[in-house]
Symmetry: C2
Subunit: 388 residues, 2 copies
């Protein structure tokens, strides 16, 4: 197990009616709020009304940053930071899923940063000491942004979708009411589950074999996705399923699986390229690419990880030959994504053709060279082509 | 899944040489330190020398509270609180295992409390707002006190061993170097592993069946104990085994398994009575009692938990009848404690006879009435007798 420092100080209020914790949470940090959200879903499912009613009752000033995109744009971040400066905001509340929370994180950092917010994403500017505190009110079980220190922001002018991680970006408070996810449509429920599954799989495929506890935690989360993903699709208001998926979304990426491990993040950089060029749903891109990536990295050196998946997650007979078990694990993973969750299985189905494949394969070179198995741009291209 | 608030803000520095983080950790909170520790082990294994050398190099004042008992006494707490007041201490460092850390927690709370520290334990006094910050330097994988908000303190005059939980008691920083546990003797390694296993089993046996993710995390920790307990006994300086056990010790009780669940804490109150009367090793008492407690609570209503243990932890054939699987799970648990870990299997072996059984069975009445299965004093007595 590698050395690490673990610090996950987010306070999570989890369960039915926990929106009632919102105003006390705000008052810990101030009294002037920016509300960050995307489209109409939070107005339809009652979250927006519940939150703003509480703020009004408590005489807490708020101003809205609406229209955050599914892959949030740097221009929207800049608009939010300007609102914070204009209205002297001291707390930001994100209402929604990973897009709203990611956007809000960089708004929090950019408010007191003098340059272009994109500098923060590409690392030419530093996150300032004075990052605004963030409260995340989660309405989608997927990215885990509610409890992690990472944001992913897109710059469509440059066709770049990049992530930044910094301890100051971690939400101070997360309010997680599984009932808010009852109205999430099937496609988003499936792609959110694929996102949780994929985060966990990226942690599971680590070159560190001695982080056994963390790997067992990975299997616990993967099993939770397999048990409750299908139930949430069949019965959208099944509280047990929604609650387990929601809590799993946080644990898949809140640092617990990663610390002591070495996580290469292989499929994510490959997928970020798809979203940067085509603005597709993150979890869908991950699902399409994952089985092809698994085939690309399978070798005598890596087969042990596949065998563990095959036997401990999928329940295949441990006496089978290792390479056969690996194939079974890959097939079972594809089956989970494409049959059980019913997600698209090819890039063509989501409108992606060969046009940008070479550019994408080259763009994610740097990240992939540090992956579980280092990959060249040529190998990245092979994965994309196989996924067409 | 039940509603909950989750907040585990302890910063953990884990791995080889992490003692180097000690002085920066102290400086976050002050410059005058109380060092709390037990017997000679930390002087033999180099922890004391390493810590004090760092404090001296950085001109940090310190004074010692030594001689903390394996079941720490309230008189020792009082002595520590007096030292803190006398020397104007602003940070407490515990060096050792759960005993030193538990004692230090109540020293932190009692320093600014005007009454008898025992008031804090029995709840007739309140933990003051000004609790001193605690840094735990862990040298034993067992109680998980390094990352939890609970302390267990004994009053041998009254034959009471009681626990108190309060968020302010959670260590601010934990420094966990698995190498510090290389010199832990076999018996303590085995009983520490039994302690981790038992904490986890108490969480697993919850009346809440819908906290599936948490239950899968339980299985992850139980598997870690089963994999690495025997290795640590055979190869005391196996870093991978010591690291996994150490990190598992924290996760068994840092609130992650408990939140969303309802944990009755059944075997622990039964064991605390043994320690209160006989001062035996906590993990050993837990191991002796656990299989008998399992038999006492097995019924048609509870058999599903046993079946999950039998199939998912111990790998028995799921097609067997439920009650047969339950028996197999109990036998496998006993085998793990008494054969694999080599711990004593009867109360007589640790010097306990019938003398105080009735008093003990009565004393733990209140706690046991809220357990996984509520138990009467008569049932408690049956468990004790079966364990003789």
């Amino acid at each position: 197990m590698n050395n690490f420092t673990y610090s996950v100080p987010t306070t999570v209020h989890f369960g039915k009616g926990q929106i009632s914790q919102l105003t006390d949470s705000v008052k810990l940090y101030g009294s002037r709020v920016l509300l960050v959200y995307g489209g109409g879903s939070i107005k339809k499912n009652g979250v927006y009304d519940a939150a703003t009613a509480l703020l009004k009752e408590n005489n807490i000033f708020y101003v809205d940053l609406d229209g955050v995109e599914p892959n949030p744009r740097v221009e929207t971040v800049a608009r939010g930071a300007a609102l914070c400066r204009e209205h002297d905001i001291d707390v930001v509340i994100a209402l929604g899923g990973g897009s709203s929370i990611d956007c809000a994180k960089i708004v929090c950092a950019a408010t007191n940063y003098d340059g272009d917010p994109w500098d923060l994403i590409i690392g030419t500017g530093s996150v300032p000491e004075t990052v605004l505190p963030l409260i995340a009110v989660l309405t989608l079980a997927a990215t885990g942004s509610e409890m992690d220190p990472v944001a992913v922001i897109s710059n469509m002018t440059l066709n770049r979708k990049l992530s930044i991680g910094h301890p100051a970006l971690r939400p101070k408070v997360a309010i997680m009411d599984p009932e808010y996810t009852f109205s999430v449509p099937k496609y988003q429920t499936a792609s959110g589950t694929a996102d949780i599954f994929s985060h966990t799989l990226e942690s599971f495929f680590s070159p560190v074999r001695s982080a056994y506890l963390q790997n067992q935690f990975c299997l616990a989360i993967l099993k939770t996705c397999m048990k409750y993903g299908p139930i949430a699709l069949e019965e959208p208001d099944n509280y047990e399923a929604r609650a387990n998926l929601m809590w799993a979304s946080s644990w898949a990426i809140n640092d617990t699986l990663k610390k002591g491990n070495e996580i290469g993040w292989s499929v994510h950089p490959l997928e970020h390229e798809l979203s940067a060029y085509y603005d597709i749903t993150h979890g869908v891109g991950l699902a399409i690419l994952t089985p092809h990536w698994m085939r690309a990295v399978l070798s005598e050196e890596t087969v042990d990880r596949f065998v563990t998946l095959a036997t401990e997650l999928y329940g295949f007979d441990a006496s089978l030959p290792a390479m056969e078990l690996a194939d079974l694990a890959i097939d079972a993973t594809a089956k989970f994504f494409f049959e059980t969750l019913g997600l698209p299985s090819t890039l063509k189905e989501v409108g992606i053709d060969e046009t940008h494949l070479e550019a994408m394969a080259h763009n994610c070179k740097a990240r992939l060279s540090q992956g579980f198995v280092p990959l060249t741009p040529e190998q990245n291209l092979e994965i994309y082509k196989a996924a067409l």
